[in-house]
């Protein structure tokens, strides 16, 4: 399937391994990525906090660019925060024709216009709803047997439920568990799996921010997880990049590797940890690398 692909900012900045692993995984899933390289930052809620119309216009522009991609079935993102921020803007744009046309008038100079009703799905949603877990199971080359994986969603992709279309038919707040299971791994549930990583207040209350990250990482460690997996690169920054500081904040050793969603999928599809960029994490995913080495050795 062909998708208008929105990678977001952080996947091209401080988590390049996310963007890279998505590019590696896509062909294995028969996804054609048409990158929206002209789109601007979603604003991560901060621009909306500054000026709502500005955030709505920047995202309407990205949506309009996505709607111009020939043959794309939908827009796909790889960032929980982008999903949440864009869904919020889209909710306003879709709710009111007059407001939408006002926002579109800001795009007239470029000949762009957003038409109501874009489908914008995070890679996680796309995996479950478009590709399907059954088909995915069939594509697995290296089942994640005995790998204990804790999900970490990120707030923006689980709340608020109404805006994100979470309901009984679409239990999107449980997709990570379903996915880990489909890939053959063991799901580790722990208290913080749907809580906040703390990243949004890292510059405003650093200690509280790091305590949030440290607490969830510690809970996952106590639940005996080998690693976490997250669809959010901003969570990844607080959980992985800042983990040495989070350890200081909560006063305990954590050493919890955190994988990006495409990395976990890629591992199960037979790619090597190295080519998925796992060597670039601050917390080396030794448990995952050891696990994959053991699987390869057992097969040989």
């Amino acid at each position: 399937m062909k998708v208008a692909y929105w990678p977001g900012c952080v996947s091209r900045g401080f988590t390049p391994e996310l963007h890279g692993s998505m590019a590696k995984v896509a062909p294995l899933l028969d996804i054609e990525l048409v990158e929206l390289d002209r789109g601007a930052c979603c604003g991560a809620g901060v621009i909306a906090e500054h000026n709502q119309e500005l955030a709505d216009t920047l995202n309407a522009r990205t949506f309009a660019l996505a709607q111009q991609v020939d043959g794309a079935e939908l827009m796909m993102n790889i960032c929980s925060t982008c999903q949440g921020a864009q869904s919020e803007c889209q909710e306003r744009l879709d709710a009111n024709a007059e407001y939408r046309s006002q926002v579109n008038s800001n795009l007239e100079g470029e000949g762009l216009s957003y038409e109501k009703g874009l489908t914008n799905k995070n890679f996680l949603w796309l995996l479950v709803e478009e590709i399907g877990l059954e088909r995915l199971r069939g594509l697995v080359k290296r089942p994640l047997t005995n790998l204990k994986v804790g999900p970490f969603y990120g707030c923006y992709i689980v709340r608020p439920r109404n805006r994100l279309g979470i309901d009984e038919q679409h239990p999107r707040d449980q997709y990570l568990e379903m996915l880990i299971d489909a890939l053959g791994g063991t799901v580790i549930k722990y208290a913080g799996m749907r809580k906040c990583c703390g990243f949004p207040i890292i510059t405003m209350n650093k200690n509280a921010s790091l305590r949030q990250a440290g607490r969830h990482l510690g809970d996952a460690a106590d639940a005996d997880a080998d690693c976490l997996v997250t669809p959010c690169p901003l969570c990844h920054l607080n959980l992985d990049l800042q983990q040495p500081l989070a350890e200081r904040a909560v006063g305990r050793e954590l050493r919890m590797p955190v994988l990006h969603l495409p990395q976990l999928v890629g591992l199960a599809l037979g790619l090597e940890p190295q080519e998925l960029g796992m060597s670039r994490h601050v917390v080396r995913p030794s448990s995952v690398i050891d696990w994959s080495a053991a699987v390869v050795a057992a097969a040989a």
């Binding site: 709502q52 500005l54 007059e98 709340r159 679409h170 949004p200 509280a208 800042q242 670039r280």
Partner: protein, 446 residues
């Protein structure tokens, strides 16, 4: 309705969290099975268990119809009013069919399901000066305010002080001193009120406080927890916007600097430049910000993470020094958008609570929550509006000329303008204000 009444009683098993701090014993779980019709509430089940099996079960309740806010608890891990949760729905979301009821979080337990609201919730509410501070001298006659401004603040007035948002606040979980969602929503009730004369002072107070408006971690937990659609997080974000955008309030918590740095970097590059964002948030919103002492201190503090990121080649010096950008033509177009939007005299905002949706919304995602959305639609108007604080500003202008007439903000006045006495306790509900949603179910079950 008739169909619901015909459903016969069936057994429901409750698993109650019990704890009596005075006993010196540890908390424990207690199970009771009661028989009730499925449309009855969890509160009724708890009361039946107390009446029939154990008179010592502690639960606080009063109105039993989702108005008094006394019976806030956690049901199957989620915050809820016990009187406003049907047994069949609770059983559906329960693990193994056993309905788990716990006291709310972030507040000390007094006994079983009763938490100390005074020690946390009410203390924080008092922190935000929760009464109107009108301009002196108070006019002899009533104030007249634009309808939209009053409809806007009814969203926060709908709060029933149940503490559900406080219970689940994730900032408060790690930082108990955070003023928190309920109190900050209450604060907007006055910041958004055109009759209040202390908007700047209120916001300045909350911006300077390290545990004020900039301590919210934007997790949406309070938005989900609230049984009355108060949207506390949304009210906090609006107060940030008014504090930084309208009053240009500077704060020691990097709140304004972070917002300015973020917005400017996206304006300049189209995308975020993380390596530049952090130092600018501490040191000031310019290329020189990173050389400010505050930025240097932060850099030193973060060295353990920075060194490992460089060693692992997660971040290369080249990537840190050079922003990733969108193509030049697109950057120019993005800047043009900034110029146009930020050049407006008044920010354009769409408040869905006030105007509702003008087109058929998609089918509601969750039937249980469906009652929450239409509350907004009830208010009628279909035009994009400026937000209430802006409307509030226009409304305060005529007051300064001593004429309490809403002449600066003409609204089609199909409904009579709500008038309100300056006493907050006496403030009546505006006639066209949205009704608090979802009370009917509890009423029907009685």
């Amino acid at each position: 309705m008739a169909e619901i009444r015909e459903r016969p009683p069936e057994p429901f098993t409750l698993r109650l969290r019990r704890y009596d701090p005075a006993s010196g014993e540890a908390p424990y779980w207690d199970e009771h099975t009661v028989e009730l019709e499925p449309h009855r509430s969890v509160l009724e089940a708890i009361l039946q268990a107390r009446d029939r099996f154990d008179g010592s079960i502690g639960i606080r309740c009063s109105c039993r119809q989702a108005i008094c806010g006394s019976c806030g608890v956690r049901i199957n891990g989620e915050p809820a009013l016990a009187c406003h949760t049907h047994l069949d729905a609770a059983k559906d979301s329960a693990r193994g069919g056993v309905i788990e009821v716990e006291p709310m979080g972030n507040m000390p337990v007094l006994k079983d399901l009763i938490v100390d609201m005074d020690a946390v919730h009410w203390k924080k509410i008092r922190r935000v000066t929760p009464w109107l501070l009108p301009k002196e001298p108070v006019p002899e006659r009533e104030y007249l305010v634009p309808r939209e401004a009053m409809v806007d603040v009814t969203q926060t007035m709908a709060c029933i002080q149940c503490g559900a948002c406080v219970s689940d606040c994730l900032s408060m979980e790690v930082d108990p001193g955070f003023i928190g969602p309920a109190a900050l929503a209450k604060s907007y009730r006055f910041v958004g009120d055109p009759r209040d004369d202390q908007h700047r002072e209120r916001l300045n107070d909350l911006a300077q406080d390290p545990q004020g408006i900039f301590d919210c971690t934007h997790c949406f937990k309070c938005v989900e927890a609230c049984p009355k659609d108060v949207n506390p997080m949304g009210q906090i974000m609006r107060q940030r916007r008014i504090a930084t955008g309208d009053f240009h309030i500077k704060d020691p918590n990097n709140g304004k600097r972070h917002e300015a740095a973020f917005t400017t970097l996206v304006r300049d590059n189209g995308l975020l430049w993380e390596a530049e964002l952090l130092p600018r948030s501490y040191g000031g919103n310019s290329w020189w910000g990173k050389f400010a002492p505050a930025a240097g201190k932060e850099l030193l503090n973060s060295l353990p993470a920075i060194i490992r990121a460089l060693l692992r080649r997660k971040v290369t010096p080249a990537a840190a020094l050079k922003p990733h950008r969108i193509p030049p033509t697109d950057r120019k177009n993005v800047r043009a958008i900034y110029d146009k939007v930020e050049g407006r005299e008044q920010r354009l905002e769409l408040n869905l609570y006030i105007v509702g949706e003008d087109e058929a919304p998609p089918p509601p995602a969750v039937t249980a929550d469906a009652g929450a959305a239409p509350a907004a639609a009830a208010s009628g108007t279909a035009t994009a509006t400026v937000d209430a604080p802006s409307a509030a500003d226009t409304a305060t202008a005529p007051e300064e000329t001593a004429a309490p007439q809403p002449s600066a903000a003409p609204q089609p006045s199909a409904a009579p303008e709500p008038s309100a006495a300056p006493e907050p306790s006496a403030a009546p509900e505006p006639s066209a204000g949205p009704e608090p949603s979802g009370d009917s179910e509890a009423g029907e079950s009685r």
